[in-house]
Amino acid sequence: MPTSTTTRFSYREAVRDAMSQAMRRDADVFIMGQDIAEHGGSQKVTLGMLEEFGPGRVRNSPISEMALTGAGIGAAMLGMRPIVEIMYEDFLTLAMEQLVNHAAKERYMSGGQLKVPLTVRTQGGAGWSSGAQHGQQTEGWFVGVPGLKVVYPSTPRDARGLLWSSIYDDNCVVFFEHVQLYNQREELPEEIEPIPLGKARIVRIGTDVTVVAIGPLVHEALAAAEQAEQEGISVEVIDPRTLQPLDEEAILESVRKTSRCVVAHEAVRRMGIGAEMAAVIQEKAFDWLDAPIERVGARFTPLPFAPGLEQASVPRREQVYAAIKRTVGSR
């Protein structure tokens, strides 16, 4: 076996590397978005790409999320593989009409004549007092749209491999990145390791409780699991990574083993993706459950500005740990 050289990638660099490698390989891949050229994007994800690929393929766009997304759809329908960067996921609302009524439906409405291989990357998340319009988690608004795929990686490896697969998927993928994860680091080989959409990852093996967590909550769940371990509670952590389609089988298999489940995300708990996961588990693994499924998510408020309020709104390891304890407490 030849030893493959590895490099330490941040989550940010992993996202950039997936795009850059795809753009080197394929002239049909390009990116457009606000401030992504000289400025490198609001989170510097595209830094340096202008120098390598030029302004034709790293297109700085006007502040027109709707036309930007529409143009991405149109170019994708003509066989390009565009990547559209929406600066904050809050601003997906401005593109929502195009995503929901067009990107998601063109294939179906055309009776299979069209494909929309468009990737819409966006980022957000709490933890830095960004206020109510620059940090909310919106992935739950898109998972209920037939025709869209939704991806939310929690590590550099997953970010790179899943973004690659998203770019080469023939459907519109809404790709969520979390601002607090950009500096997460991981050793990765130079070559892309594509990760198929719709496949969950078992992050930590355990036997007593399954925690299904997404985005930053994967890391919070791991911390909570370490804490629980000290008390003799063995926690399995699963990251679905793709939320639409959801790898139901991986979740069910774990719950059938542990008989207890906590679902955790940073988005609001009420009506969140965790509710769908809980419903799937009780429909398909009810007889295996020894305790009610616990849901962890943000309080039902707009994301507050004051640091203390923000902390009180979004869940972290303490809430996951408490949920683990509650579910085990019903033993």
Partner: protein, 324 residues
């Protein structure tokens, strides 16, 4: 003449063909109204009666490799871009043989092979898509143009302004063809636009604009050809304003209580694009009646085809939600 090649965009100014094509569309729309009233066609339908010259003149000027996007009032655009009357009628009946396999309906007609990227029933909703298609042509240096049909009502939408701005900024090969039929459903132009000359919309972006009498099919053909040449040359997009008339209600069933009856009847009597061309060609009544009969046969054949069509199998419901 077979049904299938009755309307093929010709790229030549052949008024005789234009007349035939407009007649097929007119008879098609009239037949749709009847079949809809008889309960054969589900959903709801918007007829392009009065606007046939815009669809026919514009699509005749397009090259086969050019693409269009359309609107909720889509039948004329689809037929003029070359979709068969059979396929369009079957779609209206929700049949598998329809141009969208029964998944689209009247407001979602697609024929990608013939360059119809589909009609969006969100007013102005396809303008970004046309911009993106033009972007693809530009990036690949393909000498193709994307032409978006939309109405006056769409010029008040955000996506219209965003798309016009982006297309001009990037000098994309697009033609924004505004069919000003003076009505946004029941709202007259004066109630939805602070300006009456819609070419001023284009001026805001420094975009070239052209204006044409949308009831004169030959003029529409020439103006579209000019707009296409401009866009294809790399000089940027064109806003093409076609002043036209909706000589029908917004949709079948609309009583048009908002519209002055006398104005409506007068407009129908004086602004019919088919009558105008018939006069200009000085066509003998006999010849015109013959063309009408031919068009009726094409449409009758389409109706029979649609009636005999296959209802989509509910077992196929989940097909094409996603591409594999």
């Amino acid at each position: 003449m077979t049904e299938l090649d009755y309307i093929v965009p010709s790229q030549t100014a052949e008024p005789g063909r234009f007349l035939q094509q407009m007649l097929v569309i007119r008879k098609f729309e009239q037949q749709v109204e009847e079949r809809y009233r008889d309960g054969e066609i589900p959903g709801f339908v918007h007829l392009a009666i009065g606007q046939e010259a815009v669809a026919v003149g514009a699509c005749a000027a397009l090259s086969p490799r050019d693409v269009i996007t359309s609107t909720h009032r889509s039948h004329a655009h689809a037929l003029a871009k070359g979709s068969s009357a059979r396929a369009v009628m079957a779609e209206l009946y929700g049949k598998l043989e329809g141009c969208s396999r029964g998944r689209g309906g009247s407001m979602h007609l697609y024929d990608v092979e013939r360059g119809n990227l589909g009609s969006s029933a969100v007013v102005g909703g396809a303008l970004g898509i046309a911009t993106g298609a033009a972007l693809a042509f530009s990036m690949r240096s393909e000498p193709r143009v994307a032409l978006a049909f939309f109405g006056d009502g769409a010029t008040a939408s955000g996506l219209f302004h965003e798309s016009m701005n982006m297309a001009q900024l990037w000098r994309l090969p697009a033609v924004f063809l505004c069919e000003n039929n003076r009505w946004a459903e029941s709202t007259p132009l004066a109630q939805h636009s602070p300006i009456s000359d819609l070419t001023q919309r284009a001026q805001a972006f420094g975009m070239t604009s052209l204006e044409v009498d949308g009831q004169d099919v030959e003029a529409v053909y020439r103006a579209t050809a000019e707009a296409l040449a401009h866009a294809r040359s790399g000089a940027g997009p064109v806003f093409l304003l076609a002043e036209t008339y909706r000589l029908a209600p917004h949709n079948v069933g609309d009583q048009q209580e908002y519209r002055d009856k006398a104005e409506y009847e007068l407009t129908r009597a004086t602004e019919d694009p088919i009558e105008k061309l018939r006069e200009r060609l000085a066509l003998p009544d006999e010849r015109f009646a013959e063309l009408e009969r031919e068009a009726e046969l094409v449409v009758a054949d389409a109706v029979e085809f649609a009636r005999r069509g296959t209802d989509p199998d509910p077992a196929t419901l989940l097909e094409d939600v996603y591409a594999d």
